[in-house]
Point group: C2
Chain length 408, copies 2
């Protein structure tokens, strides 16, 4: 007998028929002899509908009250599933965040879980019940309803799995696992049987939308085995865990992100202080910089180029323009038509031949690189946006990912 936490997102509980279908998964796990905790999101679209109503009631809606409002979305789905499970003869009980309780801090709209008291849950599970918990929500020490922010149901599931010392946390979604890259971009992309937390984190932060970054971090920290599965297609999904299998390839996937912009600050004095002036200005405005290159010009001048998130471009330009005389620099330019393509794997830095392979493959396709960064588990290149898909396909093939899936 294992203890399994199953999480179903909004599309998996979008209507009554789908809630019944999700209940089948919980019943199958129960029939296999496991203790089962189910974590549900609101029906897809419902949270947006609720928040839109709140936004119509005030210019700046009170955040405590927006949480009180939004939390009803999950309360509806958990009650409906518990009604269905009980009706099919599987004793079930639904719990809101405060009924677990899931204690959070008081930062409404993006609260962080501080503690989960698992005693009540264990009592219900030992009593043979399927426990259906509302995702995305908790309760502050003042007794106010809080929400964890969008996508927070994944975090709820992982946190519950950690608190209960669960054997596996299953994230049911509308894809059947984690892929080597986006299958819409590369038809030969295939599902991975397993991947490490570190790689999954890189994939998530580099544009894969399968799992919320925070929930992967959380699972890694508490070593909760995480499995991504499809609600709609049966299959083993992808297991995300601490250890990679012995036979696992070095490179597990290729991710891409189109959320980057490339900014150039031109013709600065080439002194040791120039870099700290540029990046200090941005840091004081809380703007995160990702990739950086420096290009010396003639006459002791230099250009700094760097990528920021597209959502930060306007502010970055504004603070730099204000600082032009002090930097000093002659011009600032911005290029939104760039994309970041990343190769994800284990211990990449200790395999310099992989960086060479990447350069060679892209060069053979005459794809121009604006910048490159490497880390323990990722090599990223910035390319012109028009070259995104060709870059992904080229790297997917070059690193041996475009091969037939091995038998399970």
């Amino acid at each position: 007998m294992a203890l399994i936490v199953q999480k179903f997102g909004g599309t998996s509980v979008a209507d009554l028929e789908r809630i019944r279908h999700a209940a089948d998964k919980a019943i199958a796990a129960r029939d296999a002899g496991h203790q089962v905790v189910v974590v549900l999101s609101a029906m897809s679209g419902e949270t947006n509908r609720l928040l839109a109503m709140g936004q119509q009631m005030a210019a700046q809606p009170d955040s405590r009250e927006m949480d009180q409002l939004a939390a009803t979305g999950e309360q509806v789905t958990i009650a409906l599933m518990a009604i269905h499970l009980n009706g099919r003869g599987y004793p079930a009980v639904s719990l809101q965040g405060w009924q677990v309780p899931i204690a959070t801090n008081a930062v409404h709209g993006k609260a962080r879980i501080e503690q989960i008291d698992s005693e009540h849950l264990h009592r219900l599970l030992n009593d043979g019940r399927i426990v259906v918990v509302a995702g995305f929500q908790g309760v502050s020490s003042e007794g106010n309803i809080t929400t964890l922010g969008r996508g927070g149901s994944d975090t709820t599931a992982v946190a519950l799995a950690a608190a209960l010392n669960a054997d596996e946390c299953q994230i049911f979604t509308d894809v059947d696992g984690v892929y080597t890259t986006d299958p819409r971009m590369v038809p030969e992309a295939h599902r991975l049987d397993s991947i490490t937390f570190k790689e999954m984190l890189e994939l998530a932060s580099q544009g894969s939308k399968v799992l919320q970054t925070r929930s992967v971090e959380f699972a890694g920290k508490y070593r909760v085995p995480l499995r991504v599965l499809s609600t709609f297609v049966d299959g083993p999904g992808t297991l995300i865990s601490v250890e990679q299998g012995m036979e696992a390839p070095l490179v597990s996937g290729v991710a891409c992100s189109r959320q980057e912009a490339w900014i150039t600050v031109a013709h600065m004095p080439d002194t040791p202080f120039s870099a700290s002036r540029v990046f200090g200005t941005l840091a004081r405005a809380h703007i995160e910089v990702d990739m950086i290159t420096q290009t010396p010009n003639a006459h002791q001048r230099t250009d700094f180029s760097f990528s920021v998130s597209r959502t930060d471009v306007t502010q970055a330009i504004s603070v730099l323009a204000g600082a032009l005389p002090e930097l000093p620099a002659e011009a600032i330019s911005v290029n939104n038509d760039v994309a970041k393509v990343s190769v994800i794997g284990v211990a990449l830095r200790s395999h310099p031949e992989l960086v060479m392979k990447l350069f060679d493959a892209l060069a053979a396709e005459q794809i121009r690189l604006l910048a490159i960064t490497t880390s323990e588990s990722r090599i990223s290149v910035l390319v012109p946006d028009t070259e995104t898909e060709r870059s992904v396909r080229t790297l997917h093939r070059a690193f041996g990912l475009s091969v037939a899936v091995k038998a399970e």
Copy 2:
């Protein structure tokens, strides 16, 4: 400074515009210097929508889970109103039943309030907040959400007013007060400025739908002054309180109910035991009998006729038919085409001339009476259904209610 509890029903919070309009009432009371507690129902239709979803999930939906589901309806409206009030600069906080807390027993779907801890509410009110409380719901000692049954928001409002020792409990609804009779039936019907709890109870139990019987009982028990007002039309409404004014007329209104059926058990032996056999049979089946007549036939035989609620007719006929040999009786007949018309007032029994006036007025119109009952605050007659409106109009006029409304 007074403490006012204001309750708004489903039609008064049916959409965002109406919630804003209801908020105006709370703001007006706050601006007048009062402490204000608002109690809200769910948007009209929402509770039915939620329960219908639950009913689609199981043949016999679990009642704990149905309460978990239904309670979201009020949670949405209280949050929306609190958002709006805060946005307009009136500090407000919404509270679900468990956040007050409103402690109830564990009878899901029709829980009874056991205790309200007013400390939290007083703290918020003394802090200058408008407190917006979810009607219809509470929490059991096990920490489960309970609901009070349909119309329970009135009960929540009255119970909060009693617990807070409020100066007035205002029930905002879609009519502008309590009328001498149904204005759709009698155009001369007029709004009463005031009425006693006892009269209001008789009106409510005799068919007036302005207030839920249980909330009137509760208000009378705790002597909470209750005022019925229109959400949509300004005006003083009707005050329901312990004392009737010195100048108040003896008769305050005429009610009618079309929920009656008239059953006759024919040709029983005319012995002292016959009545107890008939009504004992019904009592054992938990069927309530209202009006009773006995009509002797020739040959030492007698007929018993009595009224029951139309919802009990089928069962009443069934148990009596099964008991025919033991009663013994020859036949059972039923007449659904009857209505009960009641004159409501104070101390009617001590004014026998009023009963005479009633007989005379109906006789003058040649209206046939099937039965008559009197109590301290009510005289009721059973008439053929076709005579209902004529009976109401006749009595409304006979008892001096069809006069111009006196100046306030």
